[in-house]
């Protein structure tokens, strides 16, 4: 039969030599292997202190973006909720009142916008569906573990990005390759 690889080792059944029967050489061989592992680099990532570097195109926690004047971009059109295969997104639409022009970009806005992080599969289809460039998945954050289920339902208080531009996430729009590279370097140097 044609061998699949050339690595197959032909085994012969013959009586063991004295060295093999004495066990000791094999034991020393084993001991040297385990001792080599003793000094090897450990595979463990000590989680809360260390975080594995994310890929630059990692899809993590959602964010609701503001525009250049600090107004919420989301108009509660519901396309993200329709696109969501896990049905994790719910929202309630409302009409902008007079005097709220600085808060919301268009006449319609989301009174509430909730993402259930236990249902979400972080596929990014909401990001693709959004016509207003309002919802994005951040590359550098993920939903941390919590004790209660209701804490995983993220409302607008935790989704909308801060008004102060300096406190906003690095990730605004789709990254250019250069930005991705810079972000990768930054995260490899100092994990989040």
């Amino acid at each position: 039969m044609q061998p699949l690889t050339n690595r197959a080792k032909k085994l012969e059944k013959k009586p063991m030599t004295l060295a093999e029967r004495a066990y000791l050489p094999a034991i020393f061989q084993g001991l040297s292997i385990t001792m080599r592992h003793f000094f090897m680099k450990k595979a463990t990532v000590r989680y809360p202190e260390e975080v594995r570097p994310f890929s630059p195109i990692f899809r993590g926690l959602h964010i609701l973006k503001r525009d250049e004047q600090g107004r919420e971009r989301c108009t509660a059109c519901g396309l993200c909720a329709v696109a969501c295969p896990a049905e994790a997104i719910t929202m309630v639409a409302g009409e902008r009142k007079k005097g709220e022009e600085g808060l919301y970009r268009e006449e319609k806005y989301a009174i509430s916008y909730e993402v259930n992080m236990l249902r979400c599969i972080f596929c990014g289809l909401c990001e693709e569906a959004c016509p207003k460039a309002a919802v994005y998945l951040q590359a550098d954050k993920m939903a941390p573990p919590r004790f209660e289920r209701d804490e995983f339902i993220y409302g607008k208080d935790r989704l909308v990005e801060p008004v102060d531009p300096t406190k906003r996430s690095e990730r605004g729009i789709q990254l250019t390759p250069e930005q991705a590279e810079a972000l990768r370097n930054k995260m490899v140097q100092q994990p989040a």
Partner: protein, 365 residues
């Protein structure tokens, strides 16, 4: 030369040895987990305290607060007595081990040893072979098939390997001519003329084969892998301590580590020169003659260094025990018995004959 130490000093030494062996056993549980982790490319427990050093305390709290469980139909008295006996015998055997040479305050010189008796080695062996009763009683009193099987395995394994262990020891006694562990240690020292003379005087140089036999038997006696058949999880659930919980289980696990400590100490004393180290007498004489030290205080320093080095040797052995555990798989029961009866015992007898011949022809003395 030296007056027999007062009872007070003996009690202090015994108490310190007791505390130290418990401390070492406690940290053996931590060391075992860390070494296991390192050998498997992990980092091990590092959450409790710096480097996880408080982990043994956390484990102890867990053990103490667990439910005290008695299986139905168990013999309650024996069920409690088993782990106690295992622990007592494990702790008793360290009484005769010489942890250091003599140390002097003023005119009084004391040994760093619990009791100096001329049957030291016999005492260790007698007490260690009692240890199997702890396992046996615990396994029997549990009223559980797996426990009983584990206990029977432990008993037959210990008896089989004690023979080879004793025979390998006889060769050492032929060289030393005494059973006193202190005497055996002192015989391994020498005022060396060249660098490694002291090490050449260690019994390992005269008894390499005997040491290997002793080492293998030590693994079997302490029920460590590759001979941990009494608590073989894959076949016997937990072996003799299947039914044990809470601190009674803790005592069994603890006594295992105390046994490892004692066996490591015995091996260091018998084969690796105990508290001797190269250049000890040269260092003492140099301090006394050209540094203006008193001879007694120079000797005290040597004793302290020797004790530290003895513990270094013991820790090296304990590490070796753990290293082996995470390297070798468990023997099958028939392999274990065949190794003990058809290989180790004949080898040990051969070693006795060889030693006798070498002594007769004056090659070693």
């Amino acid at each position: 030369m030296i007056e027999l130490p007062a009872l007070g000093w003996q009690s202090i030494v015994i108490f310190v040895v007791f505390a130290v062996s418990l401390l070492i056993a406690t940290y053996c549980t931590y060391a075992e987990r860390v070494i296991a982790a390192f050998l498997q490319d992990r980092v091990g427990p590092d959450r409790a305290g710096p480097y996880g050093l408080a982990q043994p305390l956390a484990d102890a709290v867990k053990m103490f607060t667990k439910e005290e469980f008695f299986p139905g139909g168990a013999n309650k008295a024996l069920f409690v007595f088993g782990p106690c006996l295992a622990m007592i015998t494990a702790l008793m055997s360290s009484a005769v081990i010489p942890f250091g040479n003599n140390i002097s305050f003023g005119n009084n010189a004391f040994f760093l040893q619990g009791i100096e008796v001329n049957i030291g080695m016999l005492w260790v062996f007698g007490v260690v072979s009692l240890g199997v009763y702890g396992v046996m009683i615990g396994g029997w009193a549990s009223n559980n098939k797996f426990s009983l099987l584990g206990a029977i395995r432990a008993a037959s394994q210990n008896i089989s390997y004690e023979l080879a262990m004793g025979l390998s020891l006889i060769a050492v006694l032929m060289i030393s001519g005494t059973l006193s562990l202190r005497e055996i240690t002192l015989q391994q020292s020498s005022e060396g003329a060249f660098v490694w003379q002291d090490i050449f005087n260690w019994n390992i140089m005269k008894q390499p084969l005997g040491f290997i036999i002793f080492l293998v038997c030590a693994f079997a006696e302490t029920n460590r892998t590759p001979f941990d058949l009494p608590e073989c999880e894959t076949e016997l659930v937990g072996g003799y301590h299947t039914e044990y919980s809470s601190m009674k289980l803790g005592l069994y696990l603890f006594s295992e580590y105390v046994n490892i400590f004692v066996v490591s100490a015995v091996m260091s004393v018998l084969y690796f020169g105990g508290f001797n180290f190269p250049f000890q007498y040269e260092l003492r004489d140099w301090l006394a003659s050209s540094q203006g030290w008193e001879l007694a205080s120079a000797q005290n320093l040597i004793t302290a260094l020797g004790t530290l080095l003895l513990f270094g040797k013991i820790f090296a052995f304990i590490f070796f025990f753990m290293w082996i555990r995470w390297t070798l798989p468990r023997f099958r029961y028939d392999q274990l018995m065949r190794l003990g009866w058809t290989i180790l015992i004949p080898l040990a007898i051969f070693n006795i004959l060889l030693t006798g011949g070498l002594i007769t022809f004056g090659v070693i003395k």
